[in-house]
Subunit: 365 residues, 2 copies
Amino acid sequence: MKFVCDGLSLSEAVIKVSKACAVRTTAPVMECIKLSAFGEEVTLLATDGELSIRKSVRAEIFEEGEICVPGKLFSDFIGKLSDEEVSIATSEKGVEIKYRDAGTFMQSLPAEEFPKIDFSAQENSFTMKQSDLKKIIAETTFCCAQDDSRPVLKGCLMEFGEKLEVTALDGYRLAIASAPILAKSGEKSIICPARTLSEIARMLEKEDEEITLYTQGGMLLVQSEGTTVVSRLYQGEFIKKENVVPSAFSTKVTIRRAELIDSAERAAILIRGDKNNLVTLDIDPESVKISSVSDFGNVAEVVKAATEGMEMTISMNAKYLLDALRALGEEEVTISFNGAVSPFILQNAQQKESLYLILPVRNAA
Amino acid sequence: MKFVCDGLSLSEAVIKVSKACAVRTTAPVMECIKLSAFGEEVTLLATDGELSIRKSVRAEIFEEGEICVPGKLFSDFIGKLSDEEVSIATSEKGVEIKYRDAGTFMQSLPAEEFPKIDFSAQENSFTMKQSDLKKIIAETTFCCAQDDSRPVLKGCLMEFGEKLEVTALDGYRLAIASAPILAKSGEKSIICPARTLSEIARMLEKEDEEITLYTQGGMLLVQSEGTTVVSRLYQGEFIKKENVVPSAFSTKVTIRRAELIDSAERAAILIRGDKNNLVTLDIDPESVKISSVSDFGNVAEVVKAATEGMEMTISMNAKYLLDALRALGEEEVTISFNGAVSPFILQNAQQKESLYLILPVRNAA
C-alpha cells in the first residue's frame, strides 16, 4: 500500500473514525484504524465491536492495499501534520509516514486481523430532519443507565409510528421525547446504544437537511457527509410506558423553570457528597418550598407557583430533578404528582412532546 | 455579627480569597474563610498556613463581629447569589444567609480558632511594572520542583540587584529570568513559594501599573485592588548559578523555534508513556535531526539550523525541551552545548534575558 494525500483532510477523517476505536482491550487490533487504499480513495475504519465508523478521503494511490495502524497514536500524530502533504506506505518496518524530508515508522498489524464490518443495512429506513433527531437524542440519552447491570438500559427505545418516539430509562427515572418522521419503511422499533446516538448527533452538522437511518438484522447504519456509522442494536424488553407513566394526578404545579433551577442548585450545594443527594419540595397552593439538610447546614427557598389539587411534600435526588429541568426548554414547566411515594412527571407547560418521570425517595426525616 | 451587602461584590471577593483555603486538612478551621464585619466593611480572610489572602467589601454592618464559614461551601453558595442582596448573620444554629424571602443556615466555627496572620511586613520593598513581574513568574515557576523531597526547590530564588533575577530549578532543569526594578529598599534575596507567585500573577490585572512587594521577617506581602496576599518565604540554600551555568560552549545552534517545537511534539507522541520520554538531537553543520524511538515506531525529522562548533548527538526529556522552547518567545532560539553529557542551555537568539538549562540523559541506545 502506498498513497499521498493532504494532511488536513486525513487528520479530519482520522479524528472522526478514531471515536470508535476500542480503549484498553486485550485485542490490539480493536484499538487500530484500518487504512484501505483503492481506486482514488483511502478509507479509514475503526470499530470497538459495537460501534463502527468509516470515512473516505481522496488520495493519490501508488499501490493499492490495506493495513492497520494504532488508532490513538496515528490520530495524534496525523493531527500534527495538518499543514503537510503526507505520504503513507507499508514497509518491512511497519507503516512509513513521510512529510517534507522527514520520516516516521509506526508499528502496524495486517489488515486481515481487522474484524469484518457489515455495511449492508438497508432493509428498513426512516428519514427525519437532522435538527429534530439531534434534539431528541439530547433530550433522552442522559437518562440511560451508565452501568452494565441491565445492558439493554444503556440504549434508547426508538419507536417509529406517526412520529419517532424515543424512551430512555435507568431504573430511577425515565425520559420520553418525540419528533416528526418525514418518511419510513419497515421496522416498528429498535433499541439503539446511547453511545451510538451521541456519535450520530455529533455527525449532524447541517441542521436543516434530512438524515436517513437504515436498519437490518440488528444493525443500524447512518451516512452523512462521507462518514458512515454502523452500530449493533440491543435486543430485549423495555418497560411499557403505559405501565409506569400515570395519566391522572392528584397535584399539578406550574412554576417558572429558571427560578426552580436556581433554587434547586443552591439546595444541591449543601448536600453535595451526601449519598442520597436529597432535596424536598413542599407544595402549597401558591408556592413551592425547596429545601435540603446536611451536616453542613440547611437551605429553604420559596418559589411562586400555581398549584391545582392537594398540598403535599415529596423528596427526590437533586441531580435527577435538575437534569430534567435543564432538558426542558420553556419558561414554565408543569410538575404532576400522585402523592409522596409515587413517580412524578415533568413537562413543558405548553409543548408536551417530551416527558421526564422521576421516582421519589422516601425521606426518613 | 450581622451585615447586608451586594451578592456580586461578595461573590467576587469570596472567589479570590478561597484560593488560599486549605484542602483535605485535619484542622477544619484551615478550610474556612473568616468573615470580619467592622465599621463599613466586611473583610474575608483565608489561609493554608503558608499563603493567606484577604479582601474587603463594602457592607452595611448592623452588628459588628467575626465568624468562620466552610470555605468551599460558602464560596460555591455565594457564587449562586450574585444577583441578590445578601444578609449574613450569626445565630445559634450557625451562620444565617438570607436573600429575598429564602434562608440558609451554614455550619460555622468561632473566629478565635482561626490562625492569626501577620499583615505588617513593610521593612523592605521593591517596585516594578506589573507586566514585568507577571512575565518573569510565567517564565520560571514551571521549572520549580513539584514534590517535597527538597522543599526549598518548590520556591523561586528572587535576587534584587540592578534588576530582579528569578531562578527556579528542580534538579533536572533550571530557569532564570530577569526584569527591571523601579525602586527598592533593603533585602537582597528571598525564596518565594511558586504557588504564591502564581497567585500574585493572577492578581496583576493592570499590566501598565506598578506593583510593590514588601518583605519582613520571612514574610512577603503584596497588595493590589483591595486584595492582600501574605506568604511565608522559604529559608535555605539555592544552587549558585555560576557553578552550573557554563560560560563557554563547544557547539552553538541557532534554529527556528516553531519548527523545532513542531518536530519535537511529533517525536514526543511516539514516546508518550515511556519512562524516560527521550528525544535525541543530532547536530550537523546545517541542520538538527530530531528523533525518538519506542515500541510503537520511530520518528526522525530534520530542521535547518546554523551551527557553530562541533557536530554532536545528545538526548533529553522531551517535556523539558518543549517547556523551555514554549517559554522562549522569539522566532529563533540559540541552544548551546558542551558535548553529550553536560548541561545545555536555551535562550532567545536576540534578547538573552531568560535562560533555560537542561541536564541531558545518557542514551543507552
